[in-house]
């Protein structure tokens, strides 16, 4: 993906602790606007924590975080609404339908023509026929598709994706790949356990070790599939 010179994400020695226990440590990297960052690492390495910091939902314990030109957490208000976040939780209300949830989020984000945008997204996600079903009745795969629609509703500049293929069958994974893939002006951060997919999609790779330390941080071409896999077993790349 072609990138501009302005970094969309800039991290300097970022650390996050939970009760004196470091979850991520000394993460330093730059991601230019329009690029894709793949975050790899074993369970508990702090990948989702890093994503929540970038989404303005968590404060770093130490270090400097700059997202879309604004320093976090102090200028979080400047970037909220420009970020699309797909985490482990769908962030949808169980007692509302998919459409009502999307309308609610569209109103929060001030989306123009919310009905048209929702119709377009549910069609692309393959859930148009089920858009008026209550969220509490949906399967995990349908819930994931609805959550993807929610994350894309306001056409965000920065897309934060935590295992976006979770719960999706092969066909659905292909469909949402088109929705979540690279797009002009869109920067992506992708957490995945599919090492090959992560490396293929990435311009920049961050591999976190089980203790939250950085095992690799740099261009995607600088780490092989075998080296990335070794990180899951405790290896450090160079």
């Amino acid at each position: 993906m072609e990138a501009s010179a302005q970094p969309a994400i800039s991290l300097r020695d970022v650390r996050r602790d939970y009760r004196d226990f470091p979850v991520i440590r000394d993460v330093t990297l730059d991601v230019a606007a329009g690029q894709t960052l793949s975050v790899l690492g074993p369970n508990g390495a702090g990948k989702s924590t890093l994503l929540r910091i970038l989404a303005t939902l968590l404060r770093p314990t130490a270090g400097q975080v700059e997202v879309l030109g604004s320093a976090l957490p102090n200028q979080a208000w400047k970037v909220r609404g420009r970020i699309g976040y797909l985490g482990h939780e769908p962030l949808l209300y169980r007692e509302l339908t998919i459409r009502e949830n999307l309308e609610f989020n569209a109103r929060l984000h001030g989306v123009e023509d919310p009905a048209g945008r929702i119709a377009e997204l549910v069609e692309r996600a393959g859930i148009a026929r089920r858009a008026d079903e209550y969220v509490r009745n949906l399967s995990a795969g349908m819930l994931q598709r609805a959550a993807i629609c929610r994350a894309l509703l306001h056409d965000p500049e920065l897309l934060l994706l935590d295992e976006p293929r979770s719960h999706l069958d092969v066909a659905a994974a292909g469909e949402v790949e088109e929705m979540l893939g690279p797009a002009p002006g869109r920067t992506r951060v992708l957490i995945t356990h599919d090492v090959e997919q992560g490396l293929e999609a990435a311009d920049v790779v961050l591999a976190l070790a089980a203790d939250g330390a950085v095992a690799y941080s740099g261009p995607a071409g600088g780490i092989s599939s075998a080296e990335a896999r070794a990180v899951y077993g405790g290896g450090v790349v160079r």
Binding site: A55, T56, L57, L58, R59, P73, W77, R80, G81, I83, Y85, G87, E89, P90, L91, L92, Y93, R94, E95, L96, E100, F104, N105, R107, L108, H109, G110, R150
Partner: protein, 221 residues
């Protein structure tokens, strides 16, 4: 305003579908009146006793809604969804206060007639409704602030009442001071009504201002 309206509409729609809060509050209030009716063995209540029974019942019933007002936000990711949007935290605060005021008013539409049915004293009820509305704003405002603090705790059902009830003592004193002469034996009296309603209004304003000032900080991790 669009965020305020969106959150308010979402909460009211959810309540109309699930009927989780208002019916439970109304049932609690009616049951409590029945208990007082037989516990006190009185067919009529007047003055301070009448005011105390009515206000304490409404206050304890309100805890049911206050404990639940942020449960969906906490358990279904509403806090994150709202924090990801370009909206001021005070929109959430204002929407939740409004939701609680509506719930409390709906409760009183049932509780006040039921109180009159069990204990008599209908003459001062119209003015009493005004006093209750002022009290509702204070309970809802402080309830929203305290519930926001308690919702992230596993002991939220305990923490909210423990924090809230002592802070509501001044409001109860003022509301009881205004309600007592309205429910007096021999008909309502309006002595000191202005003083106590002014205290209630001041209490409401202080906590609305406090909530407006601190609510963005309460939402951050």
């Amino acid at each position: 305003m669009r965020a305020f309206r969106a959150i308010l509409a979402k909460d009211l729609r959810t309540e109309l579908r699930t009927l989780e809060s208002v019916p439970a509050m109304a049932l609690f209030a009616v049951t409590t009146f029945v208990l007082f009716r037989f516990g006190l063995d009185r067919k009529e209540l007047e003055g301070s006793l009448a005011a105390g029974v009515l206000l304490a019942t409404v206050l304890f019933a309100s805890l049911l809604a206050i404990n639940r007002v942020f449960v969906a936000e906490r358990e279904q990711g509403g806090f994150d969804a709202i924090r990801l949007a370009p909206v001021d935290g005070t929109a959430l605060f204002a929407a939740k206060v409004t939701v609680l005021v509506i719930y409390l008013t709906a409760l009183e539409l049932v509780a006040v007639p039921m109180f009159a049915f069990f204990f008599g004293g209908t003459e001062g009820m119209f003015v009493l409704v005004g006093v209750l509305l002022l009290a509702n704003v204070g309970v809802a405002t402080l309830g929203t602030i305290v519930s926001s603090i308690a919702v992230n705790s596993r002991a939220r059902d305990l923490i909210a009442p423990l924090l809230l009830l002592p802070l509501l003592i001044p409001l109860m004193i003022a509301a009881a001071g205004a309600a007592e002469p309205l429910l007096a034996e021999g008909g309502p009296s309006y002595d000191d009504l202005g003083k106590w309603t002014a205290v209630l209004a001041l209490y409401d304003l202080v906590f609305i201002a406090l909530g407006y000032a601190v609510y963005d900080f309460l939402l951050e991790d």
